[in-house]
Amino acid sequence: MSELTYLRAISDGLRTEMRDDERVLLMGEDIGVYGGAFKVTDGFIEEFGADRVMDTPLAESGIVGTAVGAAVVGLRPVCEMQFADFVSCGFDQIVNVAGKMLYRQGLPVNITVRLPSGGGFSGGPFHSQNPEAWFMHSPGLKVVAPSTAEDAKGLMIASIRDPNPVIYMEHKNLYRRVKGEVPDGSYETPFSARVARAGTDLVVITYGAMVHTALEATEDLEDASVMVLDLRSLVPLDERAILDAVRECSKVVIVDEANQTCAAGAQVAAMIAEHGFEDLDGPVVRVAAPDVPIPFSPPLEAAVLPSVDRVREACRQLLEY
């Protein structure tokens, strides 16, 4: 066990798997000599060399497309988009080439695509997006979103080993803010949900950075016992854990940092409205970013991103329902 930041835990996951498996290589812009825009791969090029820590041209479609090619002949590329926002430039290769290869022709595509995502530090409209829902809506891709250092490492290792394309959402606002005990060596975190805090009166269902917002918002909520369910994996979605939580608590708040329409939270809410309806003791409440680009200026950004206060208020109102 070592105490690591979320960021170092990601690095540790990558390093562990690269040491164990020489098929793993990293590809991305400025990940080699510079160590990555966020320094996730700091020191990697010294240990693994430029062939396995590849500084690529500024070309997201190129990164994903060549990674697919390398994967089907036996490598296991992990691609970094410098910011999750730039994945729009490699979108087609992900959804049409990587996502549909196995279903169509029986050929698995073992790539992992790292998306440093999310807002909270004045990144503005192009450095704050949470694009996971685009990929949830695109069949053939797995999507994971760790919230803790331990899961960041374990999900990284599991993503690389998974024979399918995995979109790995890493929230930039957790990189240095979140620390935790992380097991040494190799381990995998399953693609399933985790009860971040047990509770019986209400469940907050969320993932990524919003797990921490939810925990903080409900820490001290009068006398209510609030469960926080951390989804960890969005595809596959742990429907059983969600429905169990709904059965246990009867009241649900879903928190999502992404723009609300058709977000991950919409899918969770819809699934509950269909399969957990009888267990519900109140409306399925959602807290998410309104449908606008994430603004740059701190007061505007704070008004848009789901805050501890907004989540607390939503829980409070629902508890009173």
Binding site: A59, V73, L75, V97, R104
Partner: protein, 358 residues
């Protein structure tokens, strides 16, 4: 065995006449013809099946362009890897895909390469070292570059090849792949199949300068070759492959040809000047190769008959096969962790230069 040796050969390793590539035996030259005949016969049969309502969706063929896929694939070793495009059925045949499976594919049957999940020539049989295309053109150029990148990283003497059309060169992925290949000097061969049109749009509405001239701007050679001459396409590809596997980097080959049918079966191509079609009909690649091997004493009519019989049998077999079971429609979305790893496997490589026909 779909292609390669044939009953109609004169004898192994008879040297080819001066006019042809010195790297082709007579067996090779007949093999090229046979593969082209087979491609055309399958596609003609498929067109009939389409007209009979047995091929769902639309149907696309490579009539008149057979030399491009057959000639290029003939130069590829078993360990090489290919991304095969929509005019390039010949590549699948040379690599060993069975005609009956191709016809089953077109008809959406269980025995099709994709078991009915994808249609027409949108398939790749990973057991032959081929990745099937996605529709988005020319996405596969990047996949081919990526395979070549892996070969280079692992220091393997192998190469990757893909085809794409003239129109496809307008898209960004063309550029990203060309730049990547040139920058990393990858063992990859890009075959630009210039058939004068992208759907209805003539090449002069696609680009101001022929893209083959762009190769230099990426740091590697671009060569033009008569795309209706299978031996010329073979030879250009062979040279490109030599360069690739000896560390000389990528090559862009422009195969100049003509799309002799509509874009798809639904297209009467009335936008194409009749004179242009007439002109190109004179250059039919199968006629050309037939004349060559006929001069060598090969009985081309017998070869044609043999191919026709093969396709008849294949069609019969394909038609007898079942449609896929609807209960399987949602299977295989993800590959299980505990299942065997699946990677591209070696395909057939009939060229005599590899010392073995399979």
């Amino acid at each position: 065995m779909a292609t390669g040796s044939t009953d109609v050969h004169i004898g192994p390793n008879t040297p080819a006449p001066q006019s042809a590539s010195s790297h082709l035996t007579i067996d090779d030259r007949v093999g090229l013809l046979r593969a082209m005949l087979l491609m055309r016969a399958i596609e003609e049969r498929a067109m009939n099946l389409y007209r009979q309502g047995k091929v769902p969706g639309s149907f696309y063929d490579g009539f008149g362009q057979e030399a491009v896929s057959v000639g290029a694939t003939w130069a590829m070793a078993g360990a090489d890897r290919l991304c095969v495009l929509h005019r390039d059925l010949g590549a699948h045949l040379v690599r060993g895909v069975q005609p009956s499976n191709v016809l089953a594919q077109y008809m959406g049957r269980e025995a099709g390469i994709t078991s009915g999940r994808d249609g027409n020539v949108h398939f790749g049989d990973y057991r032959t070292g081929c990745v099937g295309m996605v529709s988005m053109l020319p996405d596969m150029m990047l996949v081919a570059a990526g395979m070549a990148m892996a070969f280079k990283l692992r220091n393997e003497a192998r190469c990757a090849l893909t085809w794409f059309g003239d129109g496809s060169t307008s898209r960004g992925d063309f550029h990203e792949a060309m730049n990547w290949a040139g920058l990393q000097q990858l063992p990859v061969i890009f075959v630009l199949e210039n058939n004068q049109f992208a759907y209805s749009t003539p090449i002069d509405q696609q680009f101001a300068v022929n893209p083959v001239q762009r190769a230099a701007g990426y740091g590697f050679p671009g060569v033009s070759v008569d795309g209706n001459d299978a031996e010329a396409v073979f030879e250009a590809t062979r040279e490109a492959r030599e360069r690739a596997i000896s560390g000389g980097g990528p090559t862009l080959i422009e195969a100049v040809t003509m799309r002799m049918h509509g874009h798809g079966a639904h297209d009467d191509m009335k936008y194409v000047p009749k004179a242009l079609v007439d002109e190109w009909r004179q250059k039919d690649p199968i006629d050309r190769q037939s004349a060559r091997v006929r001069e060598l004493g090969v009985d081309v009519d017998a070869l044609r008959a043999e191919v026709r019989a093969e396709v008849d049998a294949a069609a019969k077999q394909a038609l007898a096969g079942p449609m896929p079971d609807p209960a399987t429609a949602t299977d295989r979305l993800f590959h299980p962790r505990d299942a065997d790893e699946i990677l591209l496997e070696d395909g057939a490589a009939p060229w005599s230069g590899f010392g073995t026909s399979r």
